[in-house]
Protein backbone atom coordinates (compact mmCIF):
# COMPACT_ATOMS: atom_id res chain seq x y z
CA UNK A 1 0.00 0.00 0.00
CA UNK A 2 1.54 3.24 -1.10
CA UNK A 3 1.91 6.40 0.91
CA UNK A 4 -0.63 8.07 -1.35
CA UNK A 5 -3.18 5.37 -0.54
CA UNK A 6 -2.55 5.72 3.18
CA UNK A 7 -3.00 9.47 2.88
CA UNK A 8 -6.25 8.92 0.99
CA UNK A 9 -7.51 6.56 3.71
CA UNK A 10 -6.51 9.14 6.32
CA UNK A 11 -8.51 11.82 4.50
CA UNK A 12 -11.50 9.48 4.24
CA UNK A 13 -11.18 8.74 7.96
CA UNK A 14 -11.20 12.44 8.80
CA UNK A 15 -14.27 12.96 6.60
CA UNK A 16 -16.14 9.93 7.97
CA UNK A 17 -15.29 10.23 11.65
CA UNK A 18 -15.94 13.97 11.55
CA UNK A 19 -19.56 13.47 10.54
CA UNK A 20 -22.23 13.46 13.20
CA UNK A 21 -23.94 10.41 11.68
CA UNK A 22 -20.79 8.35 12.40
CA UNK A 23 -21.29 9.14 16.08
CA UNK A 24 -24.89 7.90 16.04
CA UNK A 25 -23.82 4.25 16.25
CA UNK A 26 -21.47 4.86 19.16
CA UNK A 27 -24.00 7.09 20.92
CA UNK A 28 -26.77 4.52 20.45
CA UNK A 29 -24.61 1.73 21.89
CA UNK A 30 -23.26 3.99 24.63
CA UNK A 31 -26.74 4.98 25.79
CA UNK A 32 -28.59 1.74 25.19
CA UNK A 33 -26.16 -0.74 26.70
CA UNK A 34 -26.19 0.62 30.28
CA UNK A 35 -29.98 0.86 30.01
CA UNK A 36 -30.20 -2.75 28.81
CA UNK A 37 -27.97 -3.90 31.67
CA UNK A 38 -30.06 -1.99 34.24
CA UNK A 39 -33.23 -3.47 32.75
CA UNK A 40 -31.72 -6.98 32.88
CA UNK A 41 -30.73 -6.44 36.51
CA UNK A 42 -34.24 -5.29 37.44
CA UNK A 43 -35.92 -8.15 35.60
CA UNK A 44 -33.91 -11.18 36.68
CA UNK A 45 -37.02 -13.33 37.04
CA UNK A 46 -38.55 -12.79 33.62
CA UNK A 47 -35.89 -11.13 31.54
CA UNK A 48 -32.84 -12.62 29.86
CA UNK A 49 -31.70 -14.13 33.16
CA UNK A 50 -34.71 -16.41 32.86
CA UNK A 51 -33.11 -17.76 29.68
CA UNK A 52 -30.24 -19.16 31.75
CA UNK A 53 -32.75 -20.61 34.17
CA UNK A 54 -34.62 -22.29 31.31
CA UNK A 55 -31.34 -23.86 30.17
CA UNK A 56 -30.86 -25.69 33.46
CA UNK A 57 -34.54 -26.26 34.31
CA UNK A 58 -34.44 -29.84 33.05
CA UNK A 59 -31.61 -30.67 35.44
CA UNK A 60 -33.04 -29.09 38.58
CA UNK A 61 -35.11 -32.12 39.49
CA UNK A 62 -32.07 -34.35 39.91
CA UNK A 63 -29.33 -31.79 40.51
CA UNK A 64 -28.63 -28.89 42.82
CA UNK A 65 -27.51 -26.00 40.66
CA UNK A 66 -24.75 -24.15 42.47
CA UNK A 67 -23.04 -20.93 41.41
CA UNK A 68 -24.16 -18.04 39.30
CA UNK A 69 -25.69 -19.24 36.03
CA UNK A 70 -26.20 -15.67 34.80
CA UNK A 71 -23.31 -13.25 34.80
CA UNK A 72 -21.67 -10.54 32.70
CA UNK A 73 -20.77 -13.02 29.97
CA UNK A 74 -24.41 -14.13 29.69
CA UNK A 75 -25.48 -10.48 29.36
CA UNK A 76 -22.81 -9.79 26.70
CA UNK A 77 -23.88 -12.91 24.81
CA UNK A 78 -27.50 -11.71 24.75
CA UNK A 79 -26.39 -8.27 23.55
CA UNK A 80 -24.46 -9.97 20.73
CA UNK A 81 -27.81 -10.94 19.22
CA UNK A 82 -28.02 -7.32 18.06
CA UNK A 83 -25.53 -8.41 15.37
CA UNK A 84 -28.41 -9.75 13.32
CA UNK A 85 -30.26 -6.49 12.62
CA UNK A 86 -29.32 -3.56 14.86
CA UNK A 87 -25.57 -3.42 14.28
CA UNK A 88 -25.97 -3.93 10.50
CA UNK A 89 -28.27 -0.87 10.55
CA UNK A 90 -25.65 1.24 12.33
CA UNK A 91 -23.03 0.08 9.85
CA UNK A 92 -25.27 0.73 6.85
CA UNK A 93 -25.90 4.21 8.21
CA UNK A 94 -22.24 5.09 7.67
CA UNK A 95 -21.30 2.78 4.79
CA UNK A 96 -24.36 3.77 2.77
CA UNK A 97 -23.32 7.40 3.00
CA UNK A 98 -19.76 6.91 1.77
CA UNK A 99 -20.38 7.48 -1.94
CA UNK A 100 -24.02 8.61 -2.08
CA UNK A 101 -23.41 11.22 0.61
CA UNK A 102 -20.63 12.82 -1.38
CA UNK A 103 -22.75 12.60 -4.52
CA UNK A 104 -25.56 14.44 -2.78
CA UNK A 105 -23.17 17.03 -1.37
CA UNK A 106 -21.58 17.54 -4.78
CA UNK A 107 -18.03 17.12 -3.56
CA UNK A 108 -17.03 14.36 -5.99
CA UNK A 109 -16.25 16.72 -8.82
CA UNK A 110 -13.63 18.38 -6.66
CA UNK A 111 -12.43 15.12 -5.08
CA UNK A 112 -11.92 13.36 -8.38
CA UNK A 113 -9.82 16.07 -9.97
CA UNK A 114 -7.07 15.05 -7.56
CA UNK A 115 -4.42 12.75 -9.07
CA UNK A 116 -6.02 9.62 -7.64
CA UNK A 117 -7.95 6.96 -9.48
CA UNK A 118 -11.57 6.16 -8.77
CA UNK A 119 -10.45 2.68 -7.72
CA UNK A 120 -8.24 4.24 -5.08
CA UNK A 121 -11.07 6.43 -3.84
CA UNK A 122 -13.43 3.47 -3.47
CA UNK A 123 -10.70 1.35 -1.86
CA UNK A 124 -10.01 4.13 0.64
CA UNK A 125 -13.74 4.44 1.37
CA UNK A 126 -14.00 0.70 1.91
CA UNK A 127 -10.98 0.74 4.24
CA UNK A 128 -12.58 3.57 6.24
CA UNK A 129 -15.90 1.72 6.39
CA UNK A 130 -14.11 -1.40 7.59
CA UNK A 131 -12.27 0.62 10.22
CA UNK A 132 -15.57 2.12 11.42
CA UNK A 133 -17.02 -1.41 11.61
CA UNK A 134 -14.06 -2.61 13.69
CA UNK A 135 -14.38 0.34 16.07
CA UNK A 136 -18.13 -0.15 16.39
CA UNK A 137 -17.86 -3.87 17.19
CA UNK A 138 -14.98 -3.27 19.62
CA UNK A 139 -17.02 -0.54 21.29
CA UNK A 140 -19.94 -2.97 21.56
CA UNK A 141 -17.61 -5.65 22.98
CA UNK A 142 -16.00 -3.29 25.48
CA UNK A 143 -19.28 -1.89 26.74
CA UNK A 144 -21.29 -5.10 26.81
CA UNK A 145 -18.56 -7.06 28.60
CA UNK A 146 -17.58 -4.08 30.76
CA UNK A 147 -21.09 -3.17 31.88
CA UNK A 148 -22.09 -6.84 32.01
CA UNK A 149 -19.28 -7.70 34.40
CA UNK A 150 -19.83 -4.51 36.41
CA UNK A 151 -23.52 -5.34 36.84
CA UNK A 152 -23.53 -9.14 37.06
CA UNK A 153 -19.98 -10.22 37.84
CA UNK A 154 -17.91 -12.77 36.00
CA UNK A 155 -17.09 -16.45 36.27
CA UNK A 156 -17.84 -19.53 34.23
CA UNK A 157 -20.21 -19.05 31.32
CA UNK A 158 -23.34 -21.17 30.95
CA UNK A 159 -23.89 -21.03 27.19
CA UNK A 160 -27.62 -20.73 26.50
CA UNK A 161 -28.14 -23.64 24.15
CA UNK A 162 -31.47 -25.39 23.60
CA UNK A 163 -30.28 -29.00 23.41
CA UNK A 164 -27.31 -29.18 25.73
CA UNK A 165 -25.84 -27.74 28.86
CA UNK A 166 -22.43 -26.30 28.20
CA UNK A 167 -20.34 -24.53 30.80
CA UNK A 168 -17.14 -22.82 29.67
CA UNK A 169 -14.36 -21.96 32.10
CA UNK A 170 -13.84 -18.24 32.57
CA UNK A 171 -10.40 -18.21 30.93
CA UNK A 172 -11.76 -20.03 27.91
CA UNK A 173 -14.82 -17.78 27.79
CA UNK A 174 -12.60 -14.73 27.19
CA UNK A 175 -11.01 -16.49 24.22
CA UNK A 176 -14.41 -17.55 22.86
CA UNK A 177 -15.71 -13.98 23.10
CA UNK A 178 -12.56 -12.75 21.34
CA UNK A 179 -13.14 -15.23 18.52
CA UNK A 180 -16.85 -14.36 18.38
CA UNK A 181 -16.16 -10.63 18.04
CA UNK A 182 -13.55 -11.29 15.33
CA UNK A 183 -16.08 -13.38 13.41
CA UNK A 184 -18.68 -10.68 13.98
CA UNK A 185 -16.35 -8.07 12.47
CA UNK A 186 -15.80 -10.34 9.46
CA UNK A 187 -19.56 -10.78 8.98
CA UNK A 188 -20.25 -7.07 9.42
CA UNK A 189 -17.64 -6.27 6.77
CA UNK A 190 -19.91 -8.07 4.30
CA UNK A 191 -22.81 -5.84 5.34
CA UNK A 192 -20.53 -2.80 5.08
CA UNK A 193 -19.37 -3.72 1.58
CA UNK A 194 -22.98 -4.31 0.51
CA UNK A 195 -23.98 -0.88 1.80
CA UNK A 196 -20.98 0.67 0.04
CA UNK A 197 -21.96 -1.02 -3.21
CA UNK A 198 -25.56 0.23 -2.91
CA UNK A 199 -24.12 3.64 -2.10
CA UNK A 200 -22.38 3.72 -5.50
CA UNK A 201 -25.76 3.20 -7.15
CA UNK A 202 -27.62 5.98 -5.36
CA UNK A 203 -27.52 9.75 -5.27
CA UNK A 204 -28.57 10.13 -1.65
CA UNK A 205 -27.65 8.03 1.36
CA UNK A 206 -31.17 7.11 2.46
CA UNK A 207 -31.61 4.62 -0.39
CA UNK A 208 -28.48 2.55 0.36
CA UNK A 209 -29.30 2.42 4.09
CA UNK A 210 -32.87 1.28 3.48
CA UNK A 211 -31.73 -1.02 0.65
CA UNK A 212 -29.09 -2.68 2.83
CA UNK A 213 -31.52 -3.24 5.67
CA UNK A 214 -34.20 -4.57 3.29
CA UNK A 215 -31.73 -7.08 1.87
CA UNK A 216 -30.41 -8.09 5.32
CA UNK A 217 -33.89 -8.54 6.83
CA UNK A 218 -35.32 -10.36 3.79
CA UNK A 219 -32.28 -12.65 3.63
CA UNK A 220 -32.49 -13.35 7.35
CA UNK A 221 -36.15 -14.30 7.03
CA UNK A 222 -35.35 -16.67 4.18
CA UNK A 223 -32.33 -18.05 6.07
CA UNK A 224 -34.37 -18.84 9.16
CA UNK A 225 -37.76 -19.97 7.76
CA UNK A 226 -38.00 -23.78 7.56
CA UNK A 227 -39.57 -24.01 4.08
CA UNK A 228 -38.30 -26.29 1.32
CA UNK A 229 -38.26 -23.48 -1.24
CA UNK A 230 -36.20 -21.29 1.08
CA UNK A 231 -33.83 -24.18 1.76
CA UNK A 232 -32.82 -24.11 -1.89
CA UNK A 233 -32.17 -20.36 -1.84
CA UNK A 234 -30.42 -20.35 1.53
CA UNK A 235 -26.90 -21.35 0.39
CA UNK A 236 -26.80 -18.29 -1.87
CA UNK A 237 -27.57 -15.77 0.87
CA UNK A 238 -24.73 -14.18 2.84
CA UNK A 239 -26.90 -14.05 5.96
CA UNK A 240 -26.76 -17.85 6.08
CA UNK A 241 -23.05 -17.53 6.93
CA UNK A 242 -23.39 -14.69 9.43
CA UNK A 243 -23.79 -17.02 12.43
CA UNK A 244 -20.06 -17.69 12.83
CA UNK A 245 -19.96 -15.74 16.10
CA UNK A 246 -22.55 -18.15 17.55
CA UNK A 247 -20.42 -21.13 16.56
CA UNK A 248 -17.55 -19.70 18.63
CA UNK A 249 -19.51 -20.78 21.73
CA UNK A 250 -19.92 -24.43 20.75
CA UNK A 251 -17.83 -27.23 22.16
CA UNK A 252 -15.81 -28.37 20.34
CA UNK A 253 -15.56 -25.29 18.14
CA UNK A 254 -16.77 -26.30 14.65
CA UNK A 255 -13.71 -24.96 12.84
CA UNK A 256 -14.77 -26.50 9.53
CA UNK A 257 -18.11 -24.69 9.62
CA UNK A 258 -16.43 -21.44 10.68
CA UNK A 259 -13.84 -21.73 7.89
CA UNK A 260 -16.57 -22.32 5.29
CA UNK A 261 -18.67 -19.40 6.57
CA UNK A 262 -15.61 -17.15 6.64
CA UNK A 263 -14.72 -18.11 3.08
CA UNK A 264 -18.24 -17.48 1.76
CA UNK A 265 -18.49 -14.14 3.56
CA UNK A 266 -15.08 -13.20 2.15
CA UNK A 267 -16.28 -14.01 -1.36
CA UNK A 268 -19.41 -11.87 -0.83
CA UNK A 269 -17.36 -8.99 0.57
CA UNK A 270 -14.95 -9.13 -2.37
CA UNK A 271 -17.82 -9.40 -4.86
CA UNK A 272 -19.62 -6.36 -3.40
CA UNK A 273 -16.33 -4.42 -3.49
CA UNK A 274 -15.66 -5.38 -7.13
CA UNK A 275 -19.22 -4.41 -8.05
CA UNK A 276 -18.70 -1.08 -6.27
CA UNK A 277 -15.54 -0.52 -8.32
CA UNK A 278 -17.31 -1.46 -11.54
CA UNK A 279 -20.22 0.89 -10.90
CA UNK A 280 -18.17 3.77 -9.56
CA UNK A 281 -15.57 3.64 -12.35
CA UNK A 282 -18.34 3.89 -14.92
CA UNK A 283 -20.42 6.41 -13.04
CA UNK A 284 -21.10 9.82 -14.52
CA UNK A 285 -20.54 12.41 -11.85
CA UNK A 286 -23.17 14.97 -12.69
CA UNK A 287 -23.74 16.68 -9.39
Amino acid sequence: MGLKMLKLIHIENIKTFGKWRTGIGFAAIGVLLPLIMIAMGLDMRHGPAALAERTVRGLREDFLVVGSIFNGFSAAYIVMNSLWVHIPFLIALVAGDQVAGEGAAGTFRITLIRPVSRTQVITAKLATTFLYTVFLILFLALLSLGFGIAFFGRGDFLVPRPKEILVLLEAETWLRFGLAYLLAIWAMWTVASLALFLSTLAENSLGPVIGTMAIVIASLIISKMPFELFKMIRPFLFTTYMDGWLKAFQDPVPWQHIATSTLYLGIYTLSFFLLSLLVFNRKDILS
Binding site: V66, I69, V167
Partner: protein, 248 residues
Protein backbone atom coordinates in the same frame (compact mmCIF):
# COMPACT_ATOMS: atom_id res chain seq x y z
CA UNK B 1 -25.25 -98.38 71.27
CA UNK B 2 -23.47 -95.92 73.58
CA UNK B 3 -20.94 -95.41 70.83
CA UNK B 4 -23.75 -94.50 68.38
CA UNK B 5 -25.31 -92.02 70.81
CA UNK B 6 -21.94 -90.40 71.33
CA UNK B 7 -21.40 -89.87 67.56
CA UNK B 8 -24.98 -88.66 67.06
CA UNK B 9 -24.44 -86.00 69.78
CA UNK B 10 -21.12 -84.95 68.20
CA UNK B 11 -22.79 -84.64 64.79
CA UNK B 12 -25.67 -82.54 66.17
CA UNK B 13 -23.23 -80.26 68.01
CA UNK B 14 -21.09 -79.95 64.89
CA UNK B 15 -24.12 -79.05 62.77
CA UNK B 16 -25.20 -76.52 65.38
CA UNK B 17 -21.71 -75.03 65.43
CA UNK B 18 -21.71 -74.80 61.63
CA UNK B 19 -25.07 -73.07 61.74
CA UNK B 20 -23.72 -70.47 64.16
CA UNK B 21 -20.62 -69.97 62.01
CA UNK B 22 -22.72 -69.57 58.87
CA UNK B 23 -24.54 -66.73 60.59
CA UNK B 24 -21.31 -65.13 61.77
CA UNK B 25 -20.96 -61.55 60.65
CA UNK B 26 -24.64 -60.81 60.91
CA UNK B 27 -25.12 -62.53 64.26
CA UNK B 28 -28.17 -61.29 66.11
CA UNK B 29 -28.40 -58.33 63.74
CA UNK B 30 -29.73 -60.56 60.96
CA UNK B 31 -32.99 -60.52 62.84
CA UNK B 32 -33.15 -56.74 62.69
CA UNK B 33 -36.06 -55.19 60.87
CA UNK B 34 -35.63 -52.62 58.10
CA UNK B 35 -36.78 -49.91 60.53
CA UNK B 36 -34.13 -50.96 63.05
CA UNK B 37 -31.43 -50.87 60.41
CA UNK B 38 -32.44 -47.39 59.27
CA UNK B 39 -32.42 -46.33 62.89
CA UNK B 40 -28.89 -47.70 63.34
CA UNK B 41 -27.70 -45.91 60.23
CA UNK B 42 -29.11 -42.71 61.65
CA UNK B 43 -27.55 -43.41 65.02
CA UNK B 44 -24.14 -43.81 63.39
CA UNK B 45 -24.38 -40.10 62.59
CA UNK B 46 -25.34 -39.16 66.15
CA UNK B 47 -21.87 -37.93 67.08
CA UNK B 48 -21.69 -35.71 64.05
CA UNK B 49 -23.24 -32.33 64.76
CA UNK B 50 -21.92 -30.63 61.65
CA UNK B 51 -19.13 -30.73 59.14
CA UNK B 52 -17.69 -29.01 56.09
CA UNK B 53 -16.12 -30.87 53.20
CA UNK B 54 -14.69 -30.04 49.81
CA UNK B 55 -16.21 -31.86 46.84
CA UNK B 56 -14.46 -32.60 43.56
CA UNK B 57 -16.96 -33.50 40.88
CA UNK B 58 -16.76 -34.95 37.39
CA UNK B 59 -19.86 -35.21 35.22
CA UNK B 60 -20.07 -37.52 32.23
CA UNK B 61 -23.57 -37.14 30.87
CA UNK B 62 -25.23 -36.93 27.50
CA UNK B 63 -25.88 -33.31 26.60
CA UNK B 64 -24.04 -31.95 29.63
CA UNK B 65 -20.56 -30.53 29.17
CA UNK B 66 -19.28 -29.18 32.45
CA UNK B 67 -15.61 -28.99 33.46
CA UNK B 68 -14.37 -30.64 36.66
CA UNK B 69 -15.84 -28.73 39.56
CA UNK B 70 -14.95 -27.97 43.17
CA UNK B 71 -17.54 -27.02 45.74
CA UNK B 72 -17.76 -26.71 49.49
CA UNK B 73 -20.50 -28.53 51.32
CA UNK B 74 -21.78 -27.59 54.78
CA UNK B 75 -23.83 -30.09 56.75
CA UNK B 76 -25.60 -29.62 60.04
CA UNK B 77 -27.81 -32.00 61.95
CA UNK B 78 -30.39 -33.28 61.18
CA UNK B 79 -30.53 -32.55 57.47
CA UNK B 80 -29.29 -29.02 56.76
CA UNK B 81 -27.10 -28.85 53.70
CA UNK B 82 -25.59 -25.82 52.01
CA UNK B 83 -23.25 -25.89 49.03
CA UNK B 84 -21.07 -23.07 47.79
CA UNK B 85 -19.01 -22.82 44.65
CA UNK B 86 -17.46 -19.91 42.86
CA UNK B 87 -18.04 -21.86 39.64
CA UNK B 88 -21.23 -23.23 38.14
CA UNK B 89 -21.70 -26.74 39.48
CA UNK B 90 -24.44 -29.31 39.09
CA UNK B 91 -24.44 -31.58 42.14
CA UNK B 92 -26.66 -34.67 41.92
CA UNK B 93 -29.07 -34.71 44.81
CA UNK B 94 -28.45 -38.42 45.36
CA UNK B 95 -24.70 -37.91 45.39
CA UNK B 96 -24.58 -35.79 48.50
CA UNK B 97 -27.21 -37.46 50.61
CA UNK B 98 -25.46 -37.30 53.94
CA UNK B 99 -27.78 -39.42 55.97
CA UNK B 100 -30.03 -41.38 53.62
CA UNK B 101 -31.93 -43.05 56.41
CA UNK B 102 -33.29 -39.63 57.46
CA UNK B 103 -34.80 -39.09 54.01
CA UNK B 104 -35.78 -42.69 53.51
CA UNK B 105 -37.61 -42.81 56.84
CA UNK B 106 -39.43 -39.60 55.96
CA UNK B 107 -40.50 -40.56 52.48
CA UNK B 108 -40.35 -44.35 52.22
CA UNK B 109 -41.87 -47.27 54.07
CA UNK B 110 -39.83 -50.49 54.38
CA UNK B 111 -41.00 -53.62 52.63
CA UNK B 112 -38.31 -56.05 53.60
CA UNK B 113 -34.72 -56.76 54.46
CA UNK B 114 -32.28 -59.46 53.41
CA UNK B 115 -28.59 -60.16 53.82
CA UNK B 116 -26.34 -59.71 50.83
CA UNK B 117 -22.61 -59.79 50.29
CA UNK B 118 -21.75 -56.81 48.14
CA UNK B 119 -18.21 -56.67 46.76
CA UNK B 120 -17.06 -58.91 49.59
CA UNK B 121 -18.74 -56.80 52.27
CA UNK B 122 -21.65 -58.01 54.39
CA UNK B 123 -24.62 -55.76 53.83
CA UNK B 124 -28.29 -55.55 54.60
CA UNK B 125 -30.39 -55.01 51.52
CA UNK B 126 -33.44 -52.95 52.41
CA UNK B 127 -36.34 -52.71 50.01
CA UNK B 128 -38.50 -49.64 50.48
CA UNK B 129 -41.49 -48.17 48.74
CA UNK B 130 -42.34 -44.49 48.53
CA UNK B 131 -45.08 -42.91 50.62
CA UNK B 132 -45.67 -40.38 47.83
CA UNK B 133 -45.93 -41.40 44.20
CA UNK B 134 -43.93 -38.38 43.04
CA UNK B 135 -40.79 -39.57 44.83
CA UNK B 136 -40.42 -42.82 42.99
CA UNK B 137 -41.83 -46.27 43.21
CA UNK B 138 -39.08 -48.12 44.93
CA UNK B 139 -35.82 -47.65 46.73
CA UNK B 140 -33.25 -50.26 47.60
CA UNK B 141 -30.58 -49.48 50.14
CA UNK B 142 -27.54 -51.61 50.93
CA UNK B 143 -26.22 -50.90 54.43
CA UNK B 144 -22.79 -52.09 55.47
CA UNK B 145 -23.24 -54.04 58.68
CA UNK B 146 -19.87 -53.17 60.21
CA UNK B 147 -20.15 -49.37 60.32
CA UNK B 148 -23.85 -49.00 59.56
CA UNK B 149 -23.01 -46.85 56.58
CA UNK B 150 -24.96 -46.89 53.30
CA UNK B 151 -22.94 -48.59 50.59
CA UNK B 152 -25.31 -48.45 47.68
CA UNK B 153 -28.72 -46.99 46.97
CA UNK B 154 -31.00 -47.45 44.01
CA UNK B 155 -34.12 -45.39 43.47
CA UNK B 156 -36.49 -46.34 40.70
CA UNK B 157 -38.73 -43.52 39.58
CA UNK B 158 -42.37 -43.78 38.57
CA UNK B 159 -41.44 -43.30 34.92
CA UNK B 160 -38.91 -46.12 35.06
CA UNK B 161 -35.87 -43.92 35.59
CA UNK B 162 -33.20 -45.12 37.97
CA UNK B 163 -30.66 -43.35 40.10
CA UNK B 164 -27.95 -45.64 41.42
CA UNK B 165 -25.60 -44.27 44.05
CA UNK B 166 -22.51 -46.19 45.13
CA UNK B 167 -20.72 -44.87 48.17
CA UNK B 168 -17.32 -45.43 49.70
CA UNK B 169 -16.73 -44.34 53.27
CA UNK B 170 -13.53 -43.65 55.19
CA UNK B 171 -12.54 -42.85 58.74
CA UNK B 172 -12.25 -39.11 59.34
CA UNK B 173 -10.34 -37.63 62.29
CA UNK B 174 -9.98 -41.15 63.63
CA UNK B 175 -13.61 -41.55 64.75
CA UNK B 176 -16.15 -40.47 62.14
CA UNK B 177 -17.14 -42.77 59.31
CA UNK B 178 -17.96 -40.42 56.44
CA UNK B 179 -18.28 -40.57 52.63
CA UNK B 180 -15.00 -40.62 50.72
CA UNK B 181 -16.48 -40.90 47.25
CA UNK B 182 -19.77 -41.46 45.51
CA UNK B 183 -20.59 -42.58 42.03
CA UNK B 184 -24.05 -41.64 40.81
CA UNK B 185 -25.43 -43.38 37.74
CA UNK B 186 -28.44 -41.67 36.25
CA UNK B 187 -30.77 -43.24 33.75
CA UNK B 188 -33.78 -40.98 33.53
CA UNK B 189 -36.16 -41.26 30.57
CA UNK B 190 -37.54 -38.07 29.01
CA UNK B 191 -40.40 -36.62 30.97
CA UNK B 192 -43.62 -36.34 29.04
CA UNK B 193 -46.53 -34.08 29.96
CA UNK B 194 -49.92 -35.59 30.74
CA UNK B 195 -52.93 -34.99 28.52
CA UNK B 196 -55.28 -32.35 29.89
CA UNK B 197 -59.00 -32.63 30.09
CA UNK B 198 -60.72 -31.18 26.98
CA UNK B 199 -57.37 -31.17 25.12
CA UNK B 200 -57.49 -32.55 21.59
CA UNK B 201 -55.00 -35.22 20.52
CA UNK B 202 -53.34 -32.79 18.08
CA UNK B 203 -52.96 -30.10 20.73
CA UNK B 204 -51.58 -32.64 23.16
CA UNK B 205 -49.09 -33.98 20.58
CA UNK B 206 -47.92 -30.44 19.85
CA UNK B 207 -47.56 -29.65 23.54
CA UNK B 208 -45.83 -32.98 24.17
CA UNK B 209 -43.29 -32.25 21.44
CA UNK B 210 -42.67 -28.79 22.85
CA UNK B 211 -42.40 -29.72 26.50
CA UNK B 212 -40.93 -33.21 26.52
CA UNK B 213 -37.64 -33.26 28.30
CA UNK B 214 -34.48 -34.98 27.14
CA UNK B 215 -33.36 -38.30 28.59
CA UNK B 216 -30.56 -37.98 31.10
CA UNK B 217 -28.03 -40.76 31.12
CA UNK B 218 -24.58 -40.71 32.56
CA UNK B 219 -22.44 -40.78 35.65
CA UNK B 220 -21.37 -38.24 38.20
CA UNK B 221 -18.43 -39.02 40.45
CA UNK B 222 -17.77 -37.00 43.55
CA UNK B 223 -14.83 -37.29 45.90
CA UNK B 224 -14.88 -35.74 49.37
CA UNK B 225 -11.81 -34.24 51.04
CA UNK B 226 -10.70 -31.88 53.80
CA UNK B 227 -13.40 -32.76 56.32
CA UNK B 228 -13.83 -30.51 59.31
CA UNK B 229 -16.20 -32.16 61.78
CA UNK B 230 -18.09 -30.56 64.70
CA UNK B 231 -16.78 -27.05 64.34
CA UNK B 232 -20.07 -25.49 65.45
CA UNK B 233 -21.41 -24.20 62.14
CA UNK B 234 -23.77 -21.29 62.41
CA UNK B 235 -27.35 -21.61 61.18
CA UNK B 236 -26.85 -18.47 59.07
CA UNK B 237 -24.77 -20.48 56.59
CA UNK B 238 -27.79 -22.61 55.78
CA UNK B 239 -30.04 -19.61 55.24
CA UNK B 240 -27.95 -18.55 52.25
CA UNK B 241 -29.07 -19.63 48.83
CA UNK B 242 -27.30 -22.63 47.33
CA UNK B 243 -25.38 -20.45 44.96
CA UNK B 244 -22.71 -17.84 44.78
CA UNK B 245 -22.77 -14.75 42.66
CA UNK B 246 -20.02 -14.22 40.09
CA UNK B 247 -16.64 -12.79 41.04
CA UNK B 248 -16.71 -9.06 40.79
Amino acid sequence: MKQHCYWATVCILALFALGVNANFGFGEDSRLSAKDILKRVQESFEEIEDYTVTLDETIKMEGVKVPKREAKLYYKKPNKVHIESKDIAFIPRGGIVINPSYYLKEHFKPLGVEDEILEGVNTYKLTLTSKEASLGEKAVLWVESKHWSPKKMEITGWEGGTVLVQMEHAMVEGKYWLPKSTLVELNIPPRTPKRRIFESADDFDARKERLSGRPRKGTVSISFRDYKVNTGLSDEIFERKNDHSGNR
